[in-house]
């Protein structure tokens, strides 16, 4: 399959009469089994093949994409991109598509059990979670997702990169009368979803969450479970986008080189790290370089694509973080890793005199991106910690926090991390986090 997709991309690029051409082919299958009220209620599978083509004529770039079933479909996408390039205005500072670079060998990224997974197998896995719900008289809602796909990039300058991967994700909310608990797991194989264990964790939280108390919204210490920490770090990481930096929209403009965070915080992006969803190259076919974004607490790096690297002062090399064409949002880190610290989750909790344990965050959004002010809600597993122990559940709270400052108040990082989305992180203990309003549930 990989060879077939690479030949497709190289064929249409070689046939193109433009100054330069680039083709990105994404081919894959995705299946999602959703359940709620202890029943599978949405269950789907999709196969798609999509091509994104960029064509360069002088300094004019045309972009076209399309779903394709055969070579003729792909040729039509190239023709459309060429047609658009002819009428597009010039991009004065656009230099070139990417020059080829060696792609390092990546760790294994395909799990055969995902490739072979049938609807019945997905259903059986979901039933494991439903069994837990029924045993505990809870209502389960969640989803099991399995994906397999191949990313192929080729351009007329000689870039030729292809990589296949699989990914799995399972998450569940266990609900009781006045409580709910969330847990999730993901990886590249079905085994990584650990369905029964995850369901048990969520059920434990739902049970522990009964009779939640109301507490006043005020600054409090927080222990962020990896899911919650990952959601915050993922949103925060947009600021390492070199395009936002060049447009003066990023917090990095104010902090580059400065000791903004706790001295033992290290945040890197590494597409080859097997703890993340391995991506050896980006959407321009360039190797994803390891970038230190926060080093020993100092804001230390940005991620680039070819365009932002050429515009940088002084010009630099792409770090291999181009996003899907046309890439208008700029380069993004998608393989983030927080270096682990010492101590278990329980050790972090034990260090809190009074604070909150947070399982999950809902509807996180920037209030002010340049200042990294974020707001969001806690959700499905918010517990009060008193004198080093969880003493019960509390109603959910809203926080409004300048996150770069919060990273300066990290008191401890746990030793054991988890992958959630684009981030692998251990739990974090933050000495003070600004809660600004309350709920009744």
């Amino acid at each position: 399959m990989e060879q077939e997709l690479l030949e497709l991309a190289q064929t249409i690029v070689s046939e193109c009469q433009a100054d330069q051409a680039e083709a990105v082919v994404q081919d894959g299958t995705e299946a999602v089994s959703r359940f709620a009220n202890n029943v599978l209620h949405q269950n789907m599978q999709e196969w798609s093949r999509r091509i994104d083509v960029r064509v360069l004529l002088g300094k004019r770039v045309g972009c076209a994409s399309g779903t394709v079933a055969d070579l003729d479909d792909a040729r039509r996408v190239v023709a459309k991109a060429t047609e658009l390039a002819r009428v597009a205005g010039e991009i004065p500072d656009f230099e070139s598509f990417a020059e080829p670079q060696p792609i390092p060998e990546a760790p294994p990224a395909v799990a055969e059990d995902v490739i072979q997974c049938t609807p019945a197998q997905r259903g059986a896995l979901v039933e494991e979670a439903l069994d837990v719900a029924r045993e505990r008289s809870l209502a389960a809602a969640g989803a099991l997702s399995v994906r397999s796909g191949t990313l192929t990039v080729a351009n007329s300058l000689g870039v030729a990169a292809v990589h296949s991967s699989t990914a799995t994700h399972f998450h569940v909310v266990m609900q009781d009368e006045d409580s709910a608990g969330y847990a999730s797991a993901e990886g590249r194989s079905l085994a990584d979803t650990r369905v029964r264990e995850v369901a048990e964790r969520a059920a434990d939280k739902a049970t522990l969450g009964r009779n939640p108390r109301h507490i006043k919204a005020e600054p409090l210490a927080v222990v962020l479970e990896p899911v919650a920490a990952a959601e915050l770090l993922d949103m925060f990481s947009f600021g390492f986008n070199a395009l936002l930096y060049q447009e003066q929209k990023s917090f990095v403009c104010d902090y580059l080189g400065q000791q903004a965070c706790t001295s033992f915080l290290n945040l890197t992006d590494d597409g080859l790290d097997p703890r993340t969803n391995v991506r050896p190259f980006d959407f321009e076919g360039l190797p994803r370089r390891r970038v230190e974004l926060i080093k020993d607490g100092a804001i230390s790096g940005l991620v680039h694509n070819t365009y932002t690297a050429a515009r940088a002062k002084p010009p630099t090399q792409s770090t291999g973080h181009a996003t899907q064409p046309p890439g208008r949002w700029g380069p993004l880190p998608r393989n983030l890793i927080v270096s682990p610290g010492e101590g278990s989750l329980e050790d972090l909790i034990a260090r809190v005199d009074r604070g909150l344990f947070i399982s999950r965050i809902h509807y996180l959004n920037y209030v002010h991106p340049r200042k990294t002010i974020l707001t969001g809600m806690t959700r499905e597993g918010t517990f009060l910690i008193e004198q080093g122990q969880i003493t019960g559940a509390v109603h959910n709270l809203r926080f409004t926090e300048r996150f770069v400052d919060a990273l300066g108040r990290i008191a401890a990082i746990g030793c054991k991390g988890e992958r959630h989305g684009s981030v692998w992180t251990p739990p974090l203990l933050i000495e003070s986090f600004s809660f600004t309003s309350e709920t009744e549930f």
């Binding site: 009220n37 997702s145 969330y182 003066q248 340049r370 809600m377 709920t439 549930f441």
Partner: protein, 480 residues
């Protein structure tokens, strides 16, 4: 295309499906964006494929492919049946659908000026003229965009429905970002997050007169850098245009989706405080608050002919004189209420199964007169424009919004610009504090093209008709 859809129906029925619908969808999009005096993006996208939804053994299955060769379509239909059989393993009771007349119809949404026929060069010239108007000292980023979409959809069901629909939509907007010494401020026209969008043609862009607003937008962005910060405390606020549209979207549109209420979105998008016991009894807002879901508004972004279950577009009451009285429903969920579907099942393309989505959730005009009347009647307050940030809890109660700009109102008059304005509240308390909604002359439908819901994520285009409204004693300035 009906031949392909019917091929899927036959294959699924032969495999044991008791109900089947198939949608063949062709969707095209064109984007032109200009930034800082030069072209940034000229792009087109085309997506085509078939999605097959089946009931088998009383449970749902869905499969989709972009390969529309006969063999692939039949295999996909059979996959959908296999998936439904897997779903049935967990079934408690079989799915029952409320009845619908099997319509055979064609619905064409004619744009006065086909946006795809407008030359790219004309679009670039328009945006470059806006860009030039925004070229004011202090502005770091000037940006403008136009986009258009065309969707053709063939729907066929085993009950006999055969529906072809065409839908054209056009959007446009400009924005200026000013930056200085750690502060960044943005102003947009006619709305933030990409501008206005509607099921109309290029005539919409012409009516917006983007170039006439470029200088104002840029000047306001720069002025905001040195404006007074938002006051903190409780005061009256007046919400305008697209910000009020988003308020309706988040605090009314989402909580009345019946799938949320019944728990099927609990693990992702969340649930709703509008539980079944509150129907026709909860005071959602003050007596001036009247809200409808109306998929029949001509030209509105949330309008269509039939939903993706073949149910005709409808206008239904959601809030009547402040009392909550209706949900958005589907054929599967409506029987819970003893009703038939009001036609809100829509899918984001061929590769997604339909779920309950907003149509146009409209706050009806009231007796508040013009915006100037609301301002005159406000002693101490904030007049807020264009959204900058939004967040709401998973029951749709606790919300916090930030806007691009506000003006302080003192003694019934505008008293000065305010930066980083924000407000926060609880949904029924907030709408209960609404004491005036402007009249018909101020009423306008705003398109929200990026409503996210479902797993895998589905992005839907919806609309909200609003006229400016005033809310008494709201908490402001939490996030300044």
């Amino acid at each position: 295309m009906y031949r392909i859809a019917e091929l899927a129906l036959g294959a699924a029925q032969s495999a044991g499906a008791t109900y089947v619908d198939a949608r063949v969808v062709h969707k095209s999009r064109q984007d032109v964006q200009v930034k800082n005096g030069a072209v940034d993006v000229v792009a087109s996208a085309h997506s085509a494929g078939i999605g097959v939804r089946v009931l088998c053994d009383g449970a749902w299955g869905f499969a989709a492919t972009c390969d529309m060769a006969d063999a692939a379509v039949m295999e996909t239909a059979q996959q959908a049946v296999e998936i439904a059989r897997a779903s049935a393993r967990t079934m408690i009771r079989p799915v029952e659908l409320s009845p619908v007349d099997a319509a055979v119809d064609e619905v064409s949404h004619q744009a006065a000026l086909d946006p795809f026929q407008v030359p790219i060069a004309e679009k670039i010239d328009l945006l470059l003229s806006c860009d030039a108007a925004m070229n004011v000292p202090g502005v770091a980023v000037r940006q403008g965009s136009v986009n258009c979409t065309r969707e053709e959809k063939w729907f066929a069901s085993s009950e006999g429905a055969r529906l072809w629909q065409e839908r054209i939509a056009t959007g446009a907007g400009i924005e200026a970002t000013a930056a200085a010494a750690g502060e960044v401020q943005r102003r947009s026209y006619p709305a933030s997050h990409g501008g206005q969008k509607a099921c109309r043609g290029w005539e919409l862009v012409e009516e917006l007169a983007l170039q006439d607003h470029g200088k104002r937008v840029a000047t306001e962005a720069v002025a905001l850098l040195d404006a007074e910060p938002c006051p903190q405390g409780k005061m009256d606020i007046i919400l305008t245009g697209s910000q009020l549209a988003l308020q309706v979207h988040e605090t009314c549109g989402h909580p009345v989706e019946l799938d949320r209420v019944l728990g099927t979105e609990a693990s992702f998008a969340g649930r709703s405080f509008l539980t079944l016991d509150k129907l026709c009894s909860l005071r959602y807002g003050s007596e001036v608050v009247n809200i409808v879901a109306d998929a029949t508004v001509p030209g509105a972004l949330g309008s269509f002919g039939y939903d993706d279950e073949g149910v005709p577009a409808q206008r239904v009451r959601i809030v009547c004189d402040g009392v909550f009285c209706g949900y958005l429903t589907s054929r599967e969920t409506a029987p819970t209420l003893g009703r038939s579907s009001n036609g809100c099942m829509r899918a984001d393309g061929w590769n997604r199964s339909p779920i309950i989505r907003m149509t146009n959730i409209n706050l009806l005009p009231g007796g508040g007169g013009a915006l100037a009347d609301l301002i005159r009647g406000t002693d101490d307050g904030l007049l807020m424009f264009e959204n900058r940030s939004w967040s709401i809890d998973d029951r749709r109660l606790n919300f916090q919004f930030g806007c691009e700009l506000a003006y302080r109102i003192q003694g019934g008059e505008i008293a000065g610009m305010v930066r980083n304005p924000s407000y926060q509240g609880n949904t029924p308390e907030f709408w209960g504090a609404c004491d005036a909604v402007c009249g018909e002359e101020e009423w306008q439908v705003w398109g929200v093209p990026n409503c996210g819901k479902g797993e895998p994520m589905q992005v839907m285009e919806v609309g909200h008709g609003v006229a400016p409204a005033r809310f008494r004693q709201v908490t402001v300035g939490v996030a300044r």
